[in-house]
Amino acid sequence: MRYVIVLSCAWLAALVLAPAARAMDPVHLEVKDHHFTPDHITVPAGQRFLIVLDNHDDTTDEFESYDLKFEKIVVSGGTITVHAGPLHPGTYKFFDDYHPDQATGTVTVTQEP
């Protein structure tokens, strides 16, 4: 039992003390006429990063991604920031849950050289 506790504590400490690197600048997106601009972004693998979204539509939108694990409402004319990553190399989708057929985009994650 004592070993389990010690191991758990060590695990927790390792995780708390090793926060994900966040060196890169926030990625800026806008949504207008239910289209994201840009609708494709590239980020390096293994980094936590921010996406800042400006809503230039006249409707409230919901910026969401199952792959990146965020879901935030952004009112017309509003700006929101979501956190994402760290990610493995691959392609990840995001969308506006209120206009899922029109407003979609992807994040490509590349392995750093």
């Binding site: 995780l15 409230t60 199952y66 935030k72 952004v74 509003g78 929101i80 956190h83």
Partner: protein, 272 residues
């Protein structure tokens, strides 16, 4: 129309599953219809109010307002589920045994119902905000066919409510002697799932340590985006790529709910 039906249905389903379980878990407690209906009404009213202030809520707390708000109401719901479980453990057997009104216990039954009413209100509020904002957006849009989309939305609400009712009817097929053990377990999982979602929201905004990202990836098996994935999230707190803090919160909450039930059950029948 089908598009808006699906969007609304998904949200209503998530709240509806919780309402269905609450209805089954309060089976036989006098006056529960009023409390559950009151919880739904309060949730809808709250959703409308939050929707009006959605812009300010988004901007609050350095842009983390929405998530902190959701996490807070989820934690309140978890506490209420815990309270109900302890009460039910004390009184469930008497109710199952006699199936008559509880007389002097009615007052404390009302308190448990108030707790469950809060849980229903939180569930409806949380999903309701999204439905209200979505339907409002359609209603004021100048684009073609708002009527068809609003009809779709209304049908989505009806379908979600129907699913909630089906879950309730399905659960109460279980004999009363076993029903409360089943709903007790469902509620323990519900509470664990809500606590883990709250942790996920806070860690997602870097407000608490994530304790590791993507502890596992089961998106190939059951994706968060699928209908079953969403139901599993609402009922169990499922995530296809959870953070460490979500797994830990889930396990701790579930353990506390189950151990608390055991401890209370071992005590001699208590008053109140």
């Amino acid at each position: 129309m089908l598009g808006s039906l699906l969007i609304v249905f998904r949200e209503v389903m998530e709240a509806g599953l919780i309402v269905g379980i609450v209805l089954a878990a309060t089976q036989g407690i006098p006056g529960r219809g009023r409390w559950v209906a009151g919880g739904i009404a309060a949730g809808v009213a709250g959703a409308a109010i939050v929707a009006v202030f959605a812009g300010s809520l988004s901007a609050a707390l350095s842009g983390n307002g929405q998530d902190v708000f959701s996490a807070t109401i989820l934690c309140i719901a978890v506490l209420m589920l815990g309270w109900h479980t302890v009460w039910m453990t004390r009184h469930g057997r008497e109710m199952a045994g006699e199936m008559k009104t509880l007389g002097a216990e009615v007052v404390s039954g009302e308190r448990s119902l108030a707790a469950m009413s809060v849980v229903v209100a939180v569930a409806v509020l949380r999903e309701g905000v999204e439905v209200v904002l979505f339907l409002y957006g359609i209603a004021v849009s100048t684009h073609s066919g708002p009527m068809a989309m609003l009809t779709g939305g209304a049908l989505g609400i009806a379908a979600g409510a129907a699913l909630s009712w089906l879950l309730y009817r399905g659960l109460i097929v279980i004999p009363l002697s076993r029903l409360f053990s089943v709903t007790g377990l469902l509620i323990a999982f519900l509470a664990a799932g809500m606590a883990s979602q709250a942790a996920g929201l806070l860690a997602g905004d870097d407000l608490i340590p994530a304790l590791g990202y993507e502890v596992w990836d089961t998106s190939w098996l059951l994706s968060d985006g699928s209908m079953i994935g969403r139901a599993a999230k609402a009922l169990l707190g499922y995530s296809d790529r959870p953070m460490g803090v979500q797994v830990m919160t889930w396990a701790v909450t579930l353990a506390v709910m189950i151990i608390a039930t055991r401890l209370v059950r071992r005590q001699p029948a208590a008053r109140g």
